[in-house]
């Protein structure tokens, strides 16, 4: 029989970083908040650093969420334009995490952009979704120009089949690495709901991938 300490040592997740991570803040790397302050003061270089820092997690989140590279790029740009537009309104102090206030805000904007898109294209989406799934299973997405592997296509198709709210929580967790409390805030639901959606999404993915 294992002791509690041993059990937790075995079961506690390893500290390996996930493949997609936000660039770790070193000793000299400025925090998001200080970069934001610089941006407010008119230093465009600070904006570039922020865009660079969050490019990969944000673009991949949007790609998986929308299922389209070009749409993700468009939304990425729209997200940053929204950030610029509402720069003065952002207040890091009222966010849950001290260090991820901006990240949480950034992913919330991106999620809202995707929601707005789906809302405005709701009718078309319903009509085309099934057709698109069939086409995607036949051939890789033409716009990527890269031949994705069968497994990758299968995963993308499985993610698309998830309900919108489950997909958002799942992808937010993986790409933004926000805490569940923050994810619940981003998608605007209670913590229990966010956790439930995450669990259901993972189970459903496993089922679809099998």
């Amino acid at each position: 029989m294992m002791s509690a300490r041993e059990a937790s040592a075995n079961l506690t997740p390893k500290s390996e970083p996930l493949p997609v991570t936000v660039e770790p803040l070193g000793v000299t790397a400025p925090s998001d908040e200080s970069l934001l302050a610089d941006m407010r003061a008119g230093h465009t270089e600070a904006g570039e650093v922020l865009v660079q820092r969050y490019y990969l997690p944000l673009i991949r989140y949007l790609q998986r969420l929308t299922g389209s590279v070009s749409l993700a790029e468009e939304m990425h740009q729209q997200t940053w334009l929204s950030v610029l537009e509402h720069l003065d309104k952002f207040d890091a102090s009222n966010k849950t995490g001290a260090t991820s206030g901006f990240k949480s805000w950034l992913f919330r904007i991106a999620t809202n952009k995707a929601n707005d898109y789906w809302r405005s294209n709701g009718r078309e989406k319903v009509a085309k979704q099934n057709l698109r799934l069939v086409i995607d299973q036949e051939a890789p997405p033409a716009e990527s120009g890269i031949e994705a592997t069968e497994q990758s296509q299968k995963l993308q198709a499985a993610i698309r089949q998830l309900p919108e709210n489950q997909r958002q929580v799942l992808l937010l967790r993986y790409y933004s690495q926000l805490k569940f409390v923050e994810i619940a805030e981003v998608v605007g639901c209670p913590l229990n709901t966010a956790l439930g959606r995450m669990h259901k999404a993972m189970l459903r993915l496993k089922e679809l991938m099998a």
Partner: protein, 210 residues
């Protein structure tokens, strides 16, 4: 946060927070104790961890295969450039936005009080009527104001009833028109006529048959 465990609805929620290290220290210890004593809970935790690892692995594999690193970095550079251009544009437009917001305030302060509009309208109508009356009547001389035009020292005959301004035929048989101008004398009492001169308009007339 001490009572977070009580707020969570099911084991999956508790275990997901436990795995992600988001439980408060007291709750974390409590879960460890339960794991040590409950084998089914340990199985549940292992299953959940396996599920998470599976999902994480599948997504990271898919992301790595989706695009070669060099293409990814090119796309990233392009995206950063796009956003930084937008940032520069935004910073340039900012002062203009601020100044354009000031203008309406200034204009608003110059507005007249609401009660003055009827007076202003009445004044405009009066001015319009006076102007119309003045111009359409051909001058004040036709309305009781002392006649200002008199033909002075002209030679030849003139038919006063026929023409205004008078047309005369001079000693050489030429038709001449006398154009008077208006003016005030020094005493400003009587209006007098001043001949502006006579003009030969014979070419405009047919010779008068005697």
């Amino acid at each position: 946060m001490r009572n977070l465990l009580q707020q969570l609805e099911n084991n999956e929620a508790v275990l997901m927070l436990y795995l992600s290290g988001e439980l408060p220290p007291e709750d974390h210890v409590e879960v460890e104790q339960q794991l040590a004593s409950d084998a089914s809970l340990r199985c549940e935790l292992e299953a959940l961890e396996g599920l998470q690892n599976e999902f994480t692995f599948a997504l990271s594999e898919a992301d790595n295969q989706s695009m070669p690193p060099i293409l990814q970095s090119l796309k990233q550079a392009a995206a950063v450039k796009r956003v930084s251009r937008a940032l520069v544009k935004f910073q340039l437009e900012r002062p203009q936005i601020a100044s354009s917001q000031d203008i309406p305030v200034f204009v608003r302060s110059l507005r007249l009080p609401s009660w003055s509009y009827p007076f202003a309208t009445a004044a405009m109508i009066l001015i319009g009527w006076v102007a119309y009356w003045g111009f359409s009547s051909g001058g004040p001389s036709r309305h009781g104001i002392p006649e200002i035009a008199e033909v002075e020292n002209h030679r030849g005959s003139v038919d006063e009833e026929e023409a205004y301004p008078p047309v005369i035929v001079d000693e050489f048989g030429h038709h001449r028109v006398l154009l008077p101008t208006m003016g005030l004398d020094e005493g400003d009492v009587n209006l007098v006529a001043i001949s502006a001169g006579s003009y030969d308009v014979s070419s405009m007339f047919q010779p008068v048959s005697e």
